[in-house]
């Protein structure tokens, strides 16, 4: 029973991290039909930002988190506005090549700036303790990850469902040309959602720093994980990404607890089955 609960808590926390990291990529794919393989670099940027501000400059964790997320978002939006938007009309293969090249470049840059060793994010006192739930105790960090994931999912769902900007996004995902013909500022929608996706990925990088240690090869190492979540969840589908991330996160955690010698075999088998079952997204028939 304890084992089951452990698997569930860790799996859901892992799934939340995956969701926060991948949801920006999913929106980018749905909105711009742009295959961005450098998305992991944003997660790395957010993580390194907090690690450096807190670890080397002694900032307060929350202030550092805020600044790092805003900086990552601005970096993503600038990248989109200056370079990536010119590639939206290119064939898929060229987008893949360009963003792989960009990832290689950023990996080398991260190594030049931060060095090849693993950086850890020092947690503030408010997050390093543990919470007593009555029937068992949980590390506060894990609770924070869960809450942050739920908050991000709720915020995104609210924006997409209730705000004017969300209507713009949905219209642009369905048919970009028609949406821009109706006067929706499509460039603004694309640029802002790209920046927001980058900032969320940065948050994922900070939240997941314990599970996925920060190092220069980070964007390449966890790229496949993010792509899997997006592909199985269906491009542009936020609930789909959330579902997929939770299912796959739990499957992966369970296989690490129960049959650790199989590595990530079960993860990819689950992915293959889900994709074969619903090739257009887990919630799309």
């Amino acid at each position: 029973m304890t084992l089951l609960l452990n698997i569930l808590v860790d799996g859901v926390a892992y799934g939340m991290v995956l969701f926060v990291m991948a949801v920006g990529l999913s929106i980018t794919l749905g909105l711009m039909k742009f295959v961005n393989l450098s998305h992991g670099a944003f997660a790395m940027a957010g993580g390194y930002g907090v690690a450096v501000l807190v670890g080397s400059h002694g900032w307060n964790f929350w202030a550092a988190l805020l600044v790092a997320l805003i900086a990552t978002g601005v970096f993503g939006a600038a990248l989109e506005a200056l370079i990536l938007r010119h590639l939206y009309r290119r064939p898929e293969l060229q987008q893949v090549l360009f963003t792989i090249g960009l990832t290689f470049f950023l990996v080398a840059t991260a190594n030049a700036i931060f060095g090849p060793q693993v950086r850890s994010i020092p947690l503030p006192a408010s997050l390093s303790g543990s919470v007593d739930l009555g029937f068992r105790t949980l590390p506060t960090q894990r609770v924070f990850v869960l809450l942050a994931g739920v908050a991000a999912a709720a915020l995104l769902t609210w924006i997409i469902a209730r705000t004017r900007f969300g209507i713009w996004i949905r219209a642009s995902v369905d048919h970009a040309d028609a949406a821009s013909g109706l006067g929706i500022p499509i460039r603004l929608v694309q640029c802002l959602s790209f920046g927001a996706g980058a900032a969320l990925a940065g948050l994922g990088g900070v939240l997941g720093a314990e599970l996925m240690p920060l190092e220069p090869y980070y964007p390449l190492k966890y790229l496949v994980l993010m792509l899997v979540v997006v592909a199985v969840g269906g491009m542009g589908s936020i609930p789909g990404s959330l579902c997929t991330a939770l299912v796959l996160g739990t499957v992966d955690t369970a296989s690490k607890y129960l049959v650790s010698e199989w590595g990530s075999l079960l993860f990819f088998v689950a992915m293959g089955l889900l994709l074969a079952w619903r090739p257009r997204g887990i919630l799309t028939r």
Binding site: K33, L102, A108, F268
Partner: protein, 335 residues
């Protein structure tokens, strides 16, 4: 732009131009000649020549899929790795003859490709891309799980390869290995060209340009695609086998995602859809890698990253055309 789904965009990879087909022996002979000249110029770099030839064979196998059939895949390492492990295990358990090992690896690659293709090729575009990644990752997990058979992280290395035809033994200098790899590459190029020019190859190109039209014409589309996938698997398996036989070790990286991605990069660098691009791309990439990585592995990432972005922003073929047009233009204006 929005009407082109990613799946449709994937098929927009420059289709092979309809022009007079080059004779099948030209590219293999040119490759052999180039390898000969290279080994005369740099006699101490024979190992590098062998490595370029095996890499070119892998990229060639990918060209048949991406360039000819329009199948986007990032899982070619699965076929390469199966060939490598197949040849290594065959030498370890059964017999050390390299040519027999090649046959075994070719069969292993082709069978695995046909079996996986029967499932994978029901999908297209981004879904297919992801499924090929997953397939390669599943094989990688299996290989690292069954370490009793594959050696796990340490690699499979306790096998010996007997001399080719009982005459030429693989030497440390890499001379025999280079000749062996270049010969097999030439044979692979010849076979690929013959296949590409055959009615089967033409139907593959037709499928690349329009699946619906070929299906309407009565071509068994799925069967043809599985056929080319099996052929590609055979060549990839052979490439893996040569790597295993020359190096005497098979590591888990032969099944890894970076290998698939690098092969695709080489293909696009050299130009997809005309077979010669695989040789050019593999040579350029491997030479760049060799030079840059000998300084510092991270320098290599800098170089290849910038090269990739530059190739996309300023495509070499289009640039060459522009330069050529300008040269021609000036020639026309100056009588």
């Amino acid at each position: 732009m929005t009407t082109t789904s990613p799946a449709a965009a994937a098929t927009e990879i420059t289709p092979p131009r309809a022009r007079a087909m080059p004779p099948p022996w030209r590219l293999p002979l040119a490759t052999i000649a180039a390898a000969f000249v290279a080994s005369l110029l740099w006699p101490d770099q024979l190992g590098l020549v062998g490595r370029i030839a095996t890499t070119a064979l892998l990229v060639l196998s990918l060209d048949l899929l991406v360039g000819y059939a329009g199948i986007a895949t990032l899982g070619q390492a699965a076929l390469f790795g199966v060939g490598a492990y197949g040849a290594g295990l065959f030498a370890q358990q059964v017999h050390g003859d390299p040519l027999l090992g090649l046959l075994v690896a070719a069969a292993a690659g082709a069978c695995l490709a046909a079996a996986s293709g029967a499932f994978l090729l029901r999908f297209e575009g981004f879904t297919l891309l992801m499924l090929t990644i997953a397939f390669a990752q599943i094989l990688l997990s299996l290989a690292s799980t069954f370490r009793g058979l594959t050696g796990g992280d340490d690699g499979l290395s306790d096998f010996t390869i007997t001399p080719i035809l009982g005459l030429w033994e693989f030497d440390l200098e890499g001379r025999v290995g280079a000749i062996y790899a270049v010969t097999v590459l030439a044979a692979g190029l010849y076979l690929s060209r013959r296949v590409a020019n055959s009615p089967f190859g033409l139907s593959i190109r037709g499928i690349h340009e329009s699946r619906a039209r070929m299906a309407a014409l009565g071509t068994p589309v799925r069967k043809r695609l599985i056929g080319i996938y099996a052929l590609s698997g055979m060549l990839a398996g052979v490439s893996g086998a040569i790597t295993a036989q020359i190096n005497g070790i098979v590591g888990l990286d032969s099944l890894g995602f970076p290998l698939s991605a690098e092969a695709l990069v080489m293909l696009v660098l050299g130009g997809a859809g005309n077979l010669s691009g695989s040789v050019i791309g593999a040579s350029v990439f491997t030479l760049l890698h060799h030079t840059a990585a000998s300084i510092d592995p991270y320098h290599w990432l800098f170089v290849i990253g910038i090269a990739l972005m530059a190739v996309v922003l300023f495509p070499p073929a289009a640039m060459a055309q522009k330069v050529w047009a300008r040269v021609r233009g000036t020639r026309n204006t100056t009588p």
